[in-house]
């Protein structure tokens, strides 16, 4: 027995609550790395336009940054889902070796890469940059073996090994939202450890009710009546964790799988809306379309869209921090899509 044990208040479910909080924070770090990596790749594409004076140091710095962020993502993915992490590290080693080979190969002898569409691309530094961008891949259609495809694989790995219902403290409340397709059962856990320190489920119950504005907005447009009308809705289980200004929600079954991360109303730099859709390419396309043609003007979201998976988030300067109404509309319409969408027959 630990010396301090007699003084520590025993709180049922607290350790699972803390674990879940750490899990959500780690996922948020993974998202932050993905965003940084994407920004660097975008910067590289902008420089490829030929308008800039750059040198080899720029390309080296760009590559270093991209490797650093990808390395962090691999670590985070293996932390979040240790099972099968060896495969990720092996693929990561291959990518890193490939990146280092790019830097070691004399660029004068390199063939012109497929994306070298500008006149200056014949210069060694631009050839090198083009090779690096080729390796990173296109966000709209990352080719197999590209880095962005690997990024999607990392998120898929986390989605496959998502924490299940055993992580939910006993007695946590559930809320249900039904649509024509799904009878959605959402298990709710408050991860505000300080507030929920008593270990009772009251914090969870509070989060399931009005205090968690994000969850309320997300579930606002769906109800029970439509499922009763059709009577054919399959059950889909969700886990929602968070506190007043943060929400992580992910589906545990059905296709496609969704994972949504939202932070709002803290500091603008912390505001976030991130969605991973996995397991159904057509649905992924529709989810993307929902964002692109939703309440926000085009060009304010960043998308990496693969064969079976997509990740979508606000670009740094696109988040409607100063427009709560726009944010609320987006979250509500997104909720309608999340709880309605998918093919119940494939669950």
């Amino acid at each position: 027995m630990n010396l301090l044990s007699p003084f520590r208040k025993t709180v049922p479910g607290r350790s699972r609550r803390v674990s879940l909080r750490l899990y959500c924070l780690r996922f948020k770090k993974m998202v932050a790395s993905a965003r940084s990596l994407y920004d660097l790749a975008e910067d590289g594409h902008e420089k490829m336009s030929g308008d800039y004076i750059l040198d080899r140091h720029y390309v080296e710095t760009l590559l270093d940054g991209i490797l650093e962020h990808t390395g962090r993502m691999v670590f985070d993915a293996c932390f979040l889902a240790p099972s099968g992490g060896g495969r990720l590290y092996s693929a990561w080693d291959d990518h890193r070796a490939r990146a280092l080979r790019l830097m070691e190969t004399p660029v004068e002898s390199s063939p012109a890469p497929s994306n070298s569409h500008v006149e200056c691309a014949t210069e060694p530094e631009y050839l090198l940059l083009a090779s690096v961008l080729d390796w990173i891949g296109s966000a709209s259609e990352p080719s197999t073996n590209s880095l962005l495809d690997f990024v999607l694989q990392l998120f898929e790995h986390v989605a496959i090994h998502v924490p299940d219902l055993t992580t939910i403290p006993s007695g946590s409340p559930r809320i249900t939202r039904a649509t024509n397709t799904w009878h959605n059962v959402i298990h709710v856990v408050a991860t505000d450890v300080e507030q929920s320190g008593s270990g009772s489920s009251s914090a969870d119950a509070d989060m399931a009710k009005t205090p968690n504005r994000l969850l309320r907005l997300l579930t606002g447009n769906t109800g029970a009546s439509r499922a009763n009308r059709t009577g054919q809705a399959a059950t889909r289980t969700w886990l929602a964790a968070g506190h007043e200004r943060r929400l992580s929600i992910w589906s545990l079954d059905g296709r496609p799988r969704f994972r949504l991360e939202v932070s709002f109303g803290q500091a603008a730099r912390l505001d976030l809306m991130f969605l991973h859709v996995w397991g159904h390419p057509r649905s992924a396309e529709r989810a993307t379309g929902k964002w692109r043609h939703g309440p926000l003007p085009e060009g304010q979201v960043a998308v990496i869209e693969g064969e079976t998976s997509s990740i979508i988030w606000f670009e740094n300067d696109g988040f409607p921090s100063n427009n709560p109404e726009q944010f609320e509309n987006l979250l509500t319409s997104l909720g309608t899509m999340l709880f309605q969408h998918g093919d119940a027959s494939k669950s």
Binding site: K47, Y52, I53, L54, D55, H57, Y58, E123, P124, E125
Partner: protein
């Protein structure tokens, strides 16, 4: 000074920088000479001073700070502009404290440098 009357020296060990900057700066009518090392550039400077020196800060043989100091020792009126891919506050502060006219970080657009050169030209005039 009228840009057409300016004599500008560009020093960068990455050949692409001089190669791409020379035509971009010459568009304003200035005379531009490019060098890939500080020693050769300073020998040329001793033969004939330049109004503006644009130098990379990190070069193998002689770095940009040394170029800056030696140029100003030879010609205090010359405006030295530092370019670098290592844009840190410390580097900028050191360059400016040693008399650099201004500081620009790579990657940059030639137009950004032209703005600084024009400003340096106006100051040379006054």
């Amino acid at each position: 000074m009228n840009p057409k009357d300016l004599r500008i020296m560009i020093i960068d060990d990455e050949r692409i920088v001089g190669k791409r900057l020379k035509p971009a700066i010459e568009k304003t009518g200035s005379t531009v000479e490019i060098f890939t090392d500080g020693e050769t550039a300073l020998n040329r400077f001793q033969e004939q001073p330049f109004d503006i020196v644009v130098t990379d800060i990190r070069m193998d043989e002689m770095d940009g700070i040394e170029v800056l100091e030696r140029v100003l020792a030879l010609s205090p009126r010359t405006k030295v502009i530092i370019i670098t891919g290592y844009a840190t506050v410390e580097v900028a502060r050191e360059a400016l404290s040693k008399g650099a006219f201004d500081f620009i970080a790579k990657p940059f657009k030639p137009g950004d440098l032209r703005v600084i050169i024009n400003r340096a030209g106006r100051e040379l005039e006054s």
